[in-house]
């Protein structure tokens, strides 16, 4: 099977001697129209991969910033069907790889096979399902693999090398390493230097995964990126972009800071 676009985009950044940048924005945030303008800006401003959140009423892996933004999207009438059809209308428009991130239940109600088909044909390259651990991933792989849609694993500080190897055996696209034991938006315990447990975890992840490893959760300042070179291939920005937009900024300004 050909290399997933997500892997290619991250490897291209590595070839340029930099970390790939992966911003996240909940689908339909801050409103249904402006959202797609912000995605355009992310794409034009150097995002290598863009994560689009699929809002869910009960996001247990997310902190208050992402939860609040997701609920606001749901109130504005955002649905998975809307995200997929709007994305399909823009197919081919983005240089960046596209990842959909969310929880299993909305995907199940949409229909797992139908989702895999529609997401792939809308131009998504991978999916993160925060509440699907390895134990429950077989049916997801069975639906995604034939469509070339990567199921991106989420691992963390408490994931043993044995469990990383399980995820590694099936990973496509990239692997997502969570830098703190907590939810999105939790402040990382490091400023510039990496704490030893994060370094150890990333080293363990690099061994377990053939695909690139992205580090996420808790990135707040550009200085934090410097310590990641050689350990991680990409950095994910979750709540930081939401905060930036809430503070009156836009995606272009946000990317400017991190590039």
């Amino acid at each position: 099977m050909s290399t997933n676009i997500l892997t290619k985009r991250i490897e291209a950044a590595r070839a340029q001697g930099r970390l790939a940048l992966i911003p996240f924005l909940p689908g339909g945030y801050p409103d249904k129209k402006r959202f797609w303008d912000e995605i355009d800006k992310l794409d034009h401003s150097g995002a290598d991969v863009i994560e689009i959140g699929m809002p869910f009423s009960d996001p247990v892996a997310d902190g208050p910033v992402v939860e609040h933004a997701s609920l606001k999207c749901l109130e504005a009438g955002v649905s998975l069907a809307w995200i997929l059809s709007e994305l399909a209308a823009r197919k081919g428009r983005y240089q960046a790889g596209i990842v959909l991130m969310g929880y299993l239940n909305p995907v199940l109600q949409y229909g797992l096979a139908r989702f895999a088909k529609d997401a792939a044909s809308a131009g998504a390259h991978g999916v993160i399902l925060a509440d699907v651990p390895f134990e429950e991933s077989d049916p997801i792989h069975a639906a995604f693999d034939p469509e070339g849609l990567a199921l991106i694993p989420l691992v963390g500080l408490n994931t043993t090398p044995e469990r990383m190897a399980l995820y590694g055996s099936k990973a496509k696209g990239f692997a997502y390493f969570v830098s703190v034991l907590g939810t999105t938006g939790v402040r990382a315990s490091f400023d510039t230097g990496l704490p030893p447990e994060v370094t150890r975890g990333l080293e363990s992840a690099k061994k377990a995964f053939d695909v690139p490893v992205a580090l996420g959760f808790g990135l707040k300042r550009p200085e934090q990126l410097a310590g990641l070179h050689g350990l991680a291939d990409a950095a994910v920005f979750g709540s930081a972009l939401i905060r930036h937009i809430d503070g009156g900024g836009d995606a272009a300004g946000f990317m400017q800071v991190w590039k």
């Binding site: 009960d58 239940n105 995907v107 469990r163």
Partner: protein, 392 residues
């Protein structure tokens, strides 16, 4: 069958960051729970702290009125006033064996919060309770009780500000604090192994009730009836009877007001559909797009948009039937039992009783009916007084 499944329901739908503590708990269930040392300690706590066995009480006055023989399994007599302590004392003991120093728990009405707080106090563990901001307001007496037992109560201000959001908050907190902390889940729901663990700890209800029926009535019951929110008292009341084919198992959900368009708490007996929430695949009250809807019941402990996965499986296999009754049916049952038998049931348990009072005419005359009286009703006096004032 896949690990942690009851038929098509159950599983472990949690972020990978929660898998290590769940695997640790699975291991503890296999290794520690069955050990003689643990079982001896648990038996001693159940006897001397909880006050077990609880009575099986025959109701002569309502039986004469209804034409069936009505028995109550008296979980209202357990310490704390409800069955919840069977679970919390067991989980607190297990937490200690695992070297944890702290319990965290979610609570809706506050009954599980109180039961967790008193078990933690008994065993020298610290305790944090997550409770929806609306529930903190509605159930201030239970908040005070938890605090008196030394627990910290965290008010959860996100989402619907009720039980489902308290569970989300507790799961999030557990991610960060798993090293020192056991999540004392309150009902037979959530990710594996909680549905199994809570069932094992609540099955004492049916172990006792089965022996007491054989002793006091000389036969097995024809019906075992229990209210179902998450479903912990019901799974505890059903478990030992599941292999007795002659015993009919009836779970009674909360239909809310019963008015079309109003929220309810009856995913099994009304229009629930399969989905994934709080770590489990089960029947849920949700939109076509998979967003979880608010639930409602006059009984705060039944107010939950999901249900334990084993109940979904017992319904699918036909071994148990699930029905619902409205707020008013439960309130009338509360008043009937108080007046005719001198026992004040919790509004949750009043749903189970309400179904029997309403449907006794359709049961075979002389049937033995055991109702799990999951808790006492003192906590509900304000709600009942409001109802009586409205009726007057």
């Amino acid at each position: 069958m896949k690990k942690g499944y009851f038929g098509d329901f159950g599983g472990q739908f949690v972020p990978e960051l929660l898998m290590p503590p769940l695997l640790e708990l699975e291991d503890a269930m296999a290794r520690i729970l069955p050990s003689k040392e643990f079982q001896d300690e648990l038996k001693s706590e159940l006897a001397h702290f909880v006050g077990r066995p609880t009575a099986l009480t025959f109701c002569p006055n309502l039986s004469a009125k209804l034409g069936v023989k009505l028995w109550l399994k008296r979980e209202d007599l357990a310490h704390g006033g409800a069955h919840k302590v069977n679970n919390t004392i067991g989980q607190a003991l297990l937490a200690k064996k695992l070297g944890k120093t702290r319990l965290l728990a979610e609570t809706g009405a506050g009954q599980h919060g109180v039961a967790s707080a008193l078990a933690a106090a008994r065993l020298g563990l610290s305790c944090t309770i997550y409770m929806g901001a609306l529930d903190v307001e509605r159930q201030s007496l239970n908040v005070r009780r938890m605090k008196l037992f030394g627990a910290e109560v965290v008010s959860v201000d996100s989402g619907t500000k009720t039980l489902k959001d308290a569970i989300n908050a507790a799961l999030r907190a557990w991610i960060a604090e798993q090293g020192t902390t056991h999540y004392c889940f309150g009902t037979a729901a959530g990710p594996h192994p909680f549905p199994l663990l809570v069932r094992e700890l609540q099955a004492v209800i049916s172990r006792e009730a089965r022996a007491q029926m054989l002793d006091q009535a000389g036969c097995l019951p024809d019906y075992v009836v229990a209210c179902v929110g998450g479903g912990s008292n019901a799974i505890g009341a059903f478990h030992e009877f599941v292999s007795d084919a002659s015993v009919k198992l009836v779970g009674v959900e909360a239909a809310g007001s019963g008015k079309p368009g109003d929220w309810h708490s009856a995913p099994l007996s009304k229009q629930g559909t399969p989905g994934v929430l709080h770590g489990m695949r089960s029947q849920l009250i949700q939109t076509d797009e998979g967003q979880i809807l608010p639930s409602h019941s006059i009984a705060p402990g039944l107010d939950y948009p999901g249900v334990g996965p084993e109940h979904a499986a017992l319904q699918a296999s036909g071994r148990a039937q699930y029905v619902s009754v409205t707020d008013d049916v439960a309130l009338d049952a509360f008043i009937e039992l108080s007046r005719h038998e001198g026992i004040m049931p919790a509004l949750e348990s009043s749903h189970a009783l309400g179904w029997v009072l309403k449907n006794a005419g359709g049961l075979k005359p002389g049937s033995h009916v055991v109702v799990c009286l999951s808790g006492r009703g003192d906590k509900d006096l304000d709600i009942v007084n409001d109802y009586l004032a409205r009726k007057a």
